[in-house]
Symmetry: C4
Subunit: 232 residues, 4 copies
């Protein structure tokens, strides 16, 4: 479902991207590719397989993502993380390679995106395919303690924690996409906007994960259903 | 229905925005968020609850918007207003923060939008979440006697009056969005267009609320039906 | 059907635009607005009424367009014209007010659009509502012998002749929209393209109305059917 | 099916474009136009006819494309080629006439597109209708040994080889479109991105035709099915 939401929201153009969720210290569920792979938008239950953090498990004809180390190394290095999203939003790609700054110039338009801009979004500067553990560890290092990371010339990685870790990681990906899209639009117009004032920042409360993550998640599930893409 | 139109027309990206309508000196119906909130596009009849201008009422598990003071303070301060719309059109956000002027350079393309540009659109300069009455009163003051207001870094507020107050407020939101979208497109091309001449302005009659508001309202209802989003 | 095609192709945003076809020296069928008007995309057979060139006829609750003189004066002044289209393509609006030139820089991409650019597109410079015959005559004069005209700050008027006059006028509107959209995209990138060389122009034959108009018409009818908007 | 995928992905606006596949040294199947032609998106099995490389065959009311020499001359000159795609992606048109460079600035975002940029995309500089064999031979010469070619002011030609030649040629067209779209977006923002470093290029493996072509093909077939456009 998470994969379908990302694809339906335009964050994955065709077949690239995956989501994982921790199910133990060294185990995760991860979206794999089957013999009849049709892309993220057409993910089915059986595409989600359980493997260890190095990608070993009973795959029955499915293949783990080439970039499994993104999931394995993030989950290994950060015990507080329970879910990892990797995808390729076009606006983030363009903002990344053209070095469009993701500045905090709006507020209540989208408070999570404003807070993300205030906190700063780390950048992993290499456009490589993260198919080896050492490249995954480079990504982990670039990401630091952040919940999101731009992979320049490539895509994004976001994480979530707790009982709604998948919803949180997916909504963070959607939020980073909003921030990038607005920033690209602004850059086309000159990027003249001033940063938020401290007085206005003080009036942008964190409305909480239940408000931000679960409501937005349900909204996207409803959009999938409207498009004939619900799994139930 | 008003909420679904706004969302279907792209004026609200996911869960943010609300509509209210006066049902007495101190009472209003307002779009609230329920326990299974799915966003504006998926508004149901039971999401509309009656409360007083401070948001008190029998809510049965629904919650009034965080920004209820937008509705309460506008309706309190302006007795001629019967409906209030608040939403977050992306083009208005970008035009607002990049200070793209909303100039009157077109005419019969969209007469209500041309007249809106001629009259001028006030700007509330703060990007704050309007969750306290004093912030609502700041907004009321910035808006003055206008029927529309840009909230910079945030969104818009529009109002309507009379028996078709909701239709009027919704169509004003759609009209402001058209004006912002054209202005942003023009700004990308250099913003070289001259303002309308007085001779041409004289040939742009007000075709009346029945023509402008009700026809456009029915058009958007028909679009919702086409998309499988009608409530009947 | 013509109205639905124009709206489905994005040449009319909501309720504005109309099509007429000559049925005698002083008679025409014209798309009128009924008591339950829903916009061009939702045009029904009964919205098409027969009137004289001044808009008089048995209307039974329908109203002729405010801009009936566009149709009446063009059909009166040009006996070779059998159909008239008026609509508001957003790209033409923006190109018109920002004075983006519609230059012949592409060829086989779209030969009718290339030939339209080579022949030049006249501009009626006033943004007025053409609701009086004298304004219609101004438009006729600006249009000259051309089959298309940009109405700056307003929209376009196109005409067709012969047994497939409506198809021809509609496809000319679609073609002018392609030319404007490409020109706007080019202008954003600097408008550096060179005009076509005479050698290349010589290799761009007119493929004829049957190829250009009827095939494209059938394509758009098929798109309407796909969208659930066919009338049969 | 290939034609429908191209049209559904926005690479052909209405009726222009065609696909061919070799079925012998001097025979090919090619998408023709029938008496009820409705455009690429609405291609039916009977629109595919077998002809020789000069377009002669039993056509039964269908007509070969005006630009049959694109297919005939490419298949004649290059025995390793088994399928040819010709279409008109808008982003490639704009990039071509405005001379937007297709530079290798991204990596794992889309490895085939990155490799296409690294190898370079040849340009056929004439905007002519390729309706004579000598023009087809000019195109073949400009294309050289490449699998893709930009036809400036016109469109693109791509080829494929082997048992999945059609899938390969179609995916190469989709890949060239991605490269052009990203390049146009970047050009609007200043085209400041640096080329990939050799170290990063070394980490962008060719994942093979099965991964790239067949998975993407199945994805687009699934999208057609979702849109009600599958042929089965």
């Amino acid at each position: 479902m998470a994969c379908r939401i990302l694809a339906n929201a335009g964050l994955a153009e065709d077949i690239l991207g995956h989501v994982s969720v921790r199910v133990g210290a060294d185990r995760m569920l991860v979206r794999c590719r089957g013999p009849q792979e049709q892309g993220l938008l057409f993910t089915f239950d059986e595409d989600v397989r359980q493997v260890d953090l190095d990608g070993r498990g009973e795959l029955e004809g499915w293949a783990v993502p080439n970039e499994l180390p993104i999931h394995g190394e993030v989950l290994r290095a950060r015990p507080e993380v329970d879910a990892v999203v990797h995808c390729h939003p076009p606006a983030v790609l363009v903002a990344g390679v053209e070095e469009v700054p993701l500045r905090p110039v709006f507020g209540a338009y989208n408070i999570p995106a404003a807070r993300m801009a205030l906190e700063g979004v780390p950048v992993y500067p290499r456009a490589v395919l993260v198919r080896r553990p050492e490249l995954g560890r480079e990504l982990v290092e670039a990401m630091g303690a952040s919940t999101v990371c731009v992979m320049r010339g490539h895509g994004i990685t976001t994480v979530g924690s707790g009982p709604h870790a998948v919803e949180q990681a997916v909504v963070r990906a959607l939020t980073l996409d909003v921030l990038a899209r607005v920033s690209v639009e602004r850059a086309r117009l000159g990027d003249r906007a001033a940063d938020l004032t401290p007085e206005d920042v003080a009036e942008l409360p964190d409305l909480g994960s239940s408000f931000n993550d679960l409501n937005i998640w349900r909204h996207h599930v409803a959009r999938l259903r409207l498009s004939g893409l619900a799994l139930d």
